[in-house]
């Protein structure tokens, strides 16, 4: 049903090489990337020429074996960044016989800054908020469903970050938490509400739109596959 957590950049969760305009190059798991900075987790760094290794030699070795982390979390100012590449691309190039040049002076960045979350006014006690766009789309889709059907939102184990959202049309069941909206109700089982509190469900249309999109402020980890999250 689309990308469920676009509150992070597209490289979130991916191991990347961040080359700088200076002597340093970093390798780590991208947490987020915007106009101001690139944030890496479990990151290592190397300075050109240190230990007799150029940046390129360091990156090639990192691509073969990975890196030992020196920093739990590292914030690199975007102004210092020359390029950002997936380390996996370098790995494939090394194993394919041609080493990709992941260290380059050009200011090339392969991912776009994350889109802004939709403006929504929330009640602090609300478990889940549906934006006006999401409400319109749910009503449109519900038009084909049986009378009494509502939108069921739940969380299941699975996906690459541990938990996945599930959206379906369903009738109310015993023990459900019900949130009434104009023309339909949102149903959730109690267990799922633990993981859903505070999230906003939006719907994006158009060629660049992604359908239903979740913004989860409680997710400690989401991933680039677009289907799962962890808390």
């Amino acid at each position: 049903m689309g990308t469920f957590h676009n509150d992070k950049s597209e490289l979130h969760g991916i191991t990347v090489v961040v080359d700088t305009k200076g002597a340093k190059v970093f390798v780590g798991r991208c947490d987020d990337m915007d106009d101001a900075s690139v944030i890496l987790l479990d990151a290592d760094e190397h300075e050109d020429g240190k230990g007799g290794k150029s940046k390129q030699q360091y990156v090639e070795r990192a691509a073969k074996f990975g890196v030992w982390k020196k920093h739990e979390r590292l914030v690199i100012p975007r102004a210092e960044v020359a390029s950002v590449h997936r380390l996996g691309e370098v790995f494939q190039a090394v194993h394919g016989g041609t080493v990709a040049n992941a260290v380059q002076p050009a200011a090339k960045v392969i991912a776009e800054p994350k889109p802004a979350a939709p403006p929504v006014t929330k009640d602090a006690n609300t478990i889940v908020t549906l934006t006006p766009n999401a409400q319109v789309e749910v009503k449109r889709l519900l038009g084909d469903e049986k009378p009494g059907a509502g939108l069921r939102l739940s969380v299941k184990g699975g996906g690459c970050s541990g938990l996945v959202y599930k959206l379906e049309f369903d009738a109310k069941k015993d023990g459900d938490v019900e949130i009434p909206y104009a023309g339909f109700s949102l149903f959730m089982d109690k267990k799922s509400t633990i993981y859903l509190r505070g999230i906003t469900l939006d719907h994006q249309k158009g060629l660049q739109g992604k359908g239903f999109v979740f913004h989860n402020p409680n997710a400690s980890n989401t991933c680039g596959c677009g289907e799962s999250f962890s808390v």
Partner: protein
């Protein structure tokens, strides 16, 4: 902090249902690695990260290949800490990452697939990489 077991169980089952032996303790790992002759493979399974969602089905696909390691096991990172630590001791020169896959021949590490080689790749691609190694090693 480990995830609730009910959340993790399907991720364990995805591999064990394909005949992969799950190692839950350090003793399990040592017993598995003690059987050195021939080929073996340990998959470091994982809840978090973009890679695990592709790694598990990728491994399952690869295991349909005619040539494959004689003994195949898995440990679960973040869940069975002692088993994972012990397993990583058998490939201590390699920086830890999860998911990842280690392939051994006669007890020696001969191939390692780190997390970044799995990220962003589909199960078919991961399986293709693994079967290529199986053909060379097994």
């Amino acid at each position: 902090m480990p995830y609730p077991e009910q959340m993790v169980e399907p991720m364990r089952a995805e591999l064990t249902s394909a005949g992969v032996k799950e190692l839950r303790s350090g003793a399990d790992v040592d017993a598995f690695m003690a059987d050195k002759p021939g080929t073996s493979m340990i998959i470091v399974n994982s809840v978090c990260g973009c890679a695990a969602g592709g790694a598990r089905p990728g491994v399952k696909l690869a295991l349909r290949h005619a040539k494959k390691p004689q003994r195949i096991a898995t440990v679960f990172a973040g869940q069975d800490t002692e088993a994972v630590q012990k397993a990583r001791g058998y490939f201590a020169d390699v920086p830890p990452s999860s998911p990842s896959i280690a392939i051994f021949k006669d007890g020696e590490l001969v191939h390692f697939v780190p997390r970044h080689a799995i990220e962003g790749r589909g199960p078919e691609q991961i399986a293709q990489d693994l079967t290529k190694v199986f053909d060379e090693v097994c």
